[in-house]
Subunit: 199 residues, 4 copies
């Protein structure tokens, strides 16, 4: 299956391209917000639908390893969100209705909204206090080779539906974790102590 | 936050390196098994703990979009697994106890075990009928530059705990989905019809 | 802990009181709808927030044992809902926003809405095509004894928040399962064959 | 559907019968353990498979409303369990393999095991430091009337599989919550402040 290896390399190349397209200022503001939240033990809730929801959970798990006070909307022991708590909402389109409704509720309560999305002008983008734009498939500068065109969808896309957004968001958020480790002085060993032991 | 962009690029580079290290024969056998399962509407269950479990779910969601008969162990409507059904188990270490126990139960029942792991000789690796080795952090050929050494852990790793395995597995399985689309003749449009509408 | 036994008996007595208050016609219509859905393999999605969501899942699991084509909104392999599919929404207040939003989406798509709620005039109640009213705490005829008054909330309630609704809904839906077994000719043995084997 | 009402009443009557059969000493010890855990902010993890897992979550949610330091095994932000932390495991048969494996892991780590089960001599029962026996279907004193015999299974049971255990466990644990409210001085109003606001 040489093609699987080739597609995997191409996906990796696109994640690198998306890294290049990130706005350092947006990213820096979110990192600063998270560092302050860690210091103040502020409550953070994450939300996303479908595969974006899985990416949100993967991020929340690492935030827990870093001793953040973090919860996943919809899980059992998630408490009330209150004023000045933080909601991190992940939605490529920025218009997933249950996610937007959740962000609206949080906004009404006075929480801070962080949006990870491809669209600044989406309903979620407009609600956000902090925003990181992860360019979606249509936004990536088109490259010349056949596979590149396939991935971005000129032919049948190799990364269907939200795949590029989801994979890029996951790698982006893992990079945020890495930066937080440095900023907060956490070693891998220290994170391991929090890692679930019943699994 | 130039460093976040740099880490993200490095993570992407490592995913590409892992793509190179894949065994085409292993991958080909799993693709063939899945194509046959699609044809025969065989039941597929996926399992993983922690972030590997999230990767398993992300894969299951796309298999559902491709009309596979797929379930996630532990979710509400997951039925009995029986002889000749398929269990896809994801575990970097291959020794996550609840995952290994689940694989043992499935094996006793006569199911086919597919393992995605870094360790062929792990308890999960030994139980597997089909195996795809995704090299873990320690297995990647060490590169010279500072960030590379950081990622693979000579200094404090930039990708702590199972991060490299999880990200690589996610991109690998998305590449499998892409190959399955081609083999089974699915367009993105056709997959979209199955995509959850309440979200 | 004699008091725990006493509270448990009182809760049981209230569930019995709620059974008396059920509207046979409402219940009969939902049973008929489900029998028809079974026959036609119609898609059923269930939804609820918090503990009502857990009750929804407990019901979905038994429907799966009865070979219904049933899914839980928000779980991994839940597909699109379409026209004439069924959404069963559980909400005591009938105004849980994410549940109401989900019901609105389903309604726009042309799905059939079944609401299990305490309030006919709630947003969810108004959206519903089929409705079963499970009386909430304030609706139960007040009894004389001390514990009864405690449970219904004259003093500090013994069954706080939505407890009475949730417990009553669970027992009600298990009674619906029992009736469906009879109507569809399922034995316990037949249901057992579908019961998850990896657990 | 007069039969649904009748079954519901019968299920309620059986829950009351199970209340009578509870061992006050067992219940008292668990309440005392929980009161101490509250005081010391000890970590509590709950686990169960299938519908017992849903009952475990329903209990965990109320413990969270009472400010317990509680988590659900398998959810995203569940941290490591350590020595003297508490694992509450719910399994009617007491031999659900993933639950027993989890209890074994917790035991090896030095955690305190609380089992809610029908069988003292089951693998889970034997691992337990604290035990509450909730009699299963076969254990209830047989009554004379037709419906009673149906529920306990002489004819096709009205409460198939683990239904009686699950419903009884849920009502039992809600009664424990009520007792904890009294012991810890929590009002419904105070619990409401913790209740999820995004839903």
């Amino acid at each position: 299956m040489a093609s699987v290896k080739r597609i995997m390399s191409e996906l990796a190349a696109y994640v690198a391209a998306i890294a290049d397209a990130l706005d350092n200022k947006q990213v820096g503001q979110v990192i600063d917000l998270l560092v302050k939240a860690h210091e103040q033990k502020a409550k953070i809730l994450v939300i996303g639908a479908g595969r974006s929801g899985l990416v949100a959970r993967a991020f929340a798990m690492r935030l827990m390893h870093l001793d953040f006070n973090v919860y996943v909307v919809g899980e059992t022991i998630t408490p009330a969100i209150g004023p000045n708590d933080i909601l991190i909402a992940i939605s490529g389109s920025g218009s997933t209705r249950l996610v937007v409704t959740a962000a609206q509720i949080a906004k009404e309560i006075g929480a801070i909204i962080v949006a990870i999305t491809s669209y600044r002008d989406s309903p979620l983008g407009k609600l956000a206090d902090y925003l990181v734009i992860i360019p979606g498939r249509t936004k990536i500068a088109r490259r010349d080779d056949y596979l590149a065109r396939q991935i971005i969808g000129e032919h049948e896309p190799l990364a269907p539906l939200g795949t590029l957004f989801e994979v890029s968001s996951m790698v982006f958020l893992d990079s945020v974790i890495s930066e937080l480790m440095a900023r907060l002085g956490y070693t891998e060993e220290k994170m391991k102590a929090k890692h679930a032991t019943i699994e």
